[in-house]
Symmetry: C2
Subunit: 260 residues, 2 copies
């Protein structure tokens, strides 16, 4: 198949976000890349050069077997205590503690730093969109690697270089509501660095690094929703920059974090 290495250049044109409809329930061992290509084909669609695929992390975790039946989880005394005090499920607290590298906050909900360095509620452990509350889904062990795998699957099926972003929705300080963030990335740069570049008025920008992978994840939040069985979307027309980007590059080291 023809290999194109050209990086799309900025066109300042329209960006389109298309939901991938008709993806069936996902089970351990499934190829997410194949499911996406097949679902698109059923709808008469196909990937184009320049497209980005954003996948909600839940189907990735399911495909990788990162699910835990709550029945089999024995909460520790600490998890039980916290759960009792705050009216939450001790088994979820237990899983969140096991998945955590650090506990960041312990007010009502556990805010943890995961093994990946992500800071979020309950280490990303979640019961929604699985099976009605019997089974918890954990984050993928290495979401960058998961994204790279899907990227390769898409390449194999289409011959195209399609960047892949794996998204989850996180709360954040100071602001209400969740926003999607990129927890795994393959095939593109995650930060658009304007530093040193001059704006149209000749001013040299020095603090402008845009977290485009997170902004692209947010587009998936808008297109996919939470209640519609749409676990992936295509973003078409965004002039991404090719590169070995990784979601780890968006995790800010504590010593660099002016907000911490």
């Amino acid at each position: 198949m023809k290999r194109r290495t050209r990086t799309p250049t900025p066109n300042f044109g329209e960006i389109r976000a298309l939901p991938v409809l008709g993806i069936r329930d996902v089970f351990e061992g499934d190829s997410i890349g194949d499911l996406i290509v097949d679902a698109l084909a059923l709808g008469g669609l196909r990937l184009h050069e320049g497209d980005i695929v954003v996948v909600k992390h839940k189907i990735v975790s399911k495909a990788e077997g990162r699910t835990v039946a709550l029945d089999g989880v024995k909460p520790s005394a600490g998890a039980k205590g916290f759960a009792h005090k705050n009216g939450v499920d001790a088994r979820v607290v237990e899983l969140a503690m096991r998945e955590a590298k650090n506990i960041v906050r312990k007010k009502r909900v556990l805010i943890t730093e995961t093994q990946h360095g992500l800071v979020c509620a309950n280490s990303g452990v979640d019961l929604s969109n699985v099976d009605g509350g019997q089974t918890a889904v954990l984050l993928p062990v290495d979401p960058d690697r998961s994204a790279a795998r899907i990227h390769r699957q898409l390449k194999k099926r289409t011959g195209l270089h399609i960047p892949v972003i794996i998204a989850d929705s996180f709360g954040r300080p100071w602001r209400e509501g969740l926003c999607e963030v990129a927890i795994g990335v393959a095939g593109m740069k995650v930060i658009h660095d304007y530093r040193g570049q001059r704006d149209p008025y000749g001013y040299r920008m020095h603090a402008t690094e845009e977290a485009v992978a997170d902004e692209l994840a947010c587009v998936a939040g808008l297109v996919c929703g939470k209640d519609s069985r749409i676990p992936a979307c295509i973003i078409r027309g965004y002039p991404y920059r090719r590169g070995n980007g990784s979601a780890k590059q968006i995790v800010r080291p504590a010593e660099k974090d002016l907000f911490r």
Copy 2:
């Protein structure tokens, strides 16, 4: 003019984001709504029912005269000390302090809580995309009111109900890079509240409130960029919910903030 009160319903279809090209430099007293409608018309485009307009805050501030010539700013001793220690412009630090309600962090850059309750670097005071570094732009005094004004201007010109989001790019804890956030909103709900609703598997969601206004702002980050004189975009196809939404509703009160 015909008034339509129907709230668009979810269609799970495509979302399109179109840059508004050809907006000229903005000066105090300009009508942002008129500039947008005129720029669209020049490009053969017009607003449709269901569209959302996202405007980068800088042109709003310019239209409202929220600019300060740095030459005339006399920094306090405190501002000078901080600026000297950190190699930044004392006049910008001075303006940031004047615009702040609280200083949140003081490592290298001032992180402040603005009068609006927004937490960001330098109280949002910025020199880029103005005039090459002579003039600072402050945030609008009341960005929700600014959004409402643009919303009315668009209504007057088009007869349509067009929600308006005013966006700025903020840094955040734990993650690298800036993302756009909604600092002013008119004509739509800012949070999509899934709480109490069942997912397709029958599980009742209880922690899912999505900050859709921020996610829509992020789309503008992708479409508008920082160096292309594109200060606004149209988002078409997103099934927003009508309502008296306000960016203040996205500001999380300290006592509710599990992350703080």
